[in-house]
Symmetry: C2
Subunit: 231 residues, 2 copies
Amino acid sequence: MELNDLPKLHSDFSVDCVVFGFDKGELRILLIERAEEPFKDFLALPGNLVYDNENIDQAANRVLSELTGLNDVYMEQLYTFGDVNRHPQGRVITVAYFSLIKVKKHTLNPLSAYAKKAQWFSVADLQPLAFDHQQILEKAYKRLQNKIRYQPIGFELLPEKFTLSQLQQLYEVILEKPIDKRNFRKKILSFGLLIELDEKQKNVSHRAAKLYKFNKTRYNNLKKMGFSFEL
Amino acid sequence: MELNDLPKLHSDFSVDCVVFGFDKGELRILLIERAEEPFKDFLALPGNLVYDNENIDQAANRVLSELTGLNDVYMEQLYTFGDVNRHPQGRVITVAYFSLIKVKKHTLNPLSAYAKKAQWFSVADLQPLAFDHQQILEKAYKRLQNKIRYQPIGFELLPEKFTLSQLQQLYEVILEKPIDKRNFRKKILSFGLLIELDEKQKNVSHRAAKLYKFNKTRYNNLKKMGFSFEL
DNA sequence: GCAAAAGTGTTAACTTTACACCCATGT
DNA sequence: ACATGGGTGTAAAGTTAACACTTTTGC
């Protein structure tokens, strides 16, 4: 791996972000509509080239921040896609990132010229995406399905305060299967990771549910001591 | 093949392979000793630049094949490392791959000029590695520890025919904890994924153990039907 | 015959699953 | 008063964990 022979090059690397959100009982993903060729008018994952002087993780955070105005977000590297022909105009290797955000907490900002405004789309029925972004999304979705079973990341998708039913519905939608209400509550409360608030839902036309929040500090402590979350 | 013989590059990305093996009761990793600066004489992961006209997965397979002469090997993408300063001579983003092989099945071949012969080293006590390869190895090791619990990949590290004790020892070494013999056997046999052979160990100075082999076909079938391996 | 590892079963503790009714609130 | 979702416990089935002695083989 000697560099001496390498042409000096700015990047043919990009990052693409798969940003999941959860709203109105549906899993959503943040997409832009491309304003330029190739794939003009197609939906695409928000992504951008990596600067010469920035780490990939930084690039992912920057791109996401440029999109959503937000920084304090669950984010991790997902997978790198580098098939020779994945980009019609030349070779671009892209490092995909995976991120979970609270939809309500963010306002979506206008983007640079290459894209129209970012918007939320339901993952369930989606038109074809640009490039190999369909494939990237599938990988991300599988990661989400896997990860949510053994890490408490579901909370990243819910508002700060949520009801147990909202949490259950989130799991049902992501795992694509129904869950028994009593068993779910028993299990999730048994971890001792939820703080029961002195507060209830408002303006609902049925018995108002208690609100909870996730005790992240406690989770971090337990994790250090070898505790493992598993649904 | 020397690096100077490589086709012209327009990209500074490489693949690095973390190749695990298991031998004499120890988890091992395949490393080369670098013959050139930077990090001359350091141990390093086998890696190489990705050709312009090959997919990353292909590159990883090629590099591994150039090293070991072997192709039919468990291999998956691990993680991409791209910190600005990870390579002292410029920016190189590297896609790390993770591979498990049967040590005995392969003869290690001489390499290109930039490296001396590849050799197996015990993962347990290792001198410092070149570049950020220590970090890559750690990530790979964690992946292995995780993955072995819910996918039957341990068999990739054992000879075709193995005893239950060898299998158990493999798990104990990788998971770094003792396992109860009777419970282990009960569990592992309960999957119905092992074929009991009409054959026993030879030349051991104690009762010879039965040999088994992994029933990969059956695993693939079961997997399609939603079966999940979990130790 | 002894050293070394192979092979084998039972029980108690715990976890998971299945399942149905009353409660609180808004209209 | 009714429609909507909130909230709650128990028992049976299944899984995991703890545990010790006999067998086979080579020397």
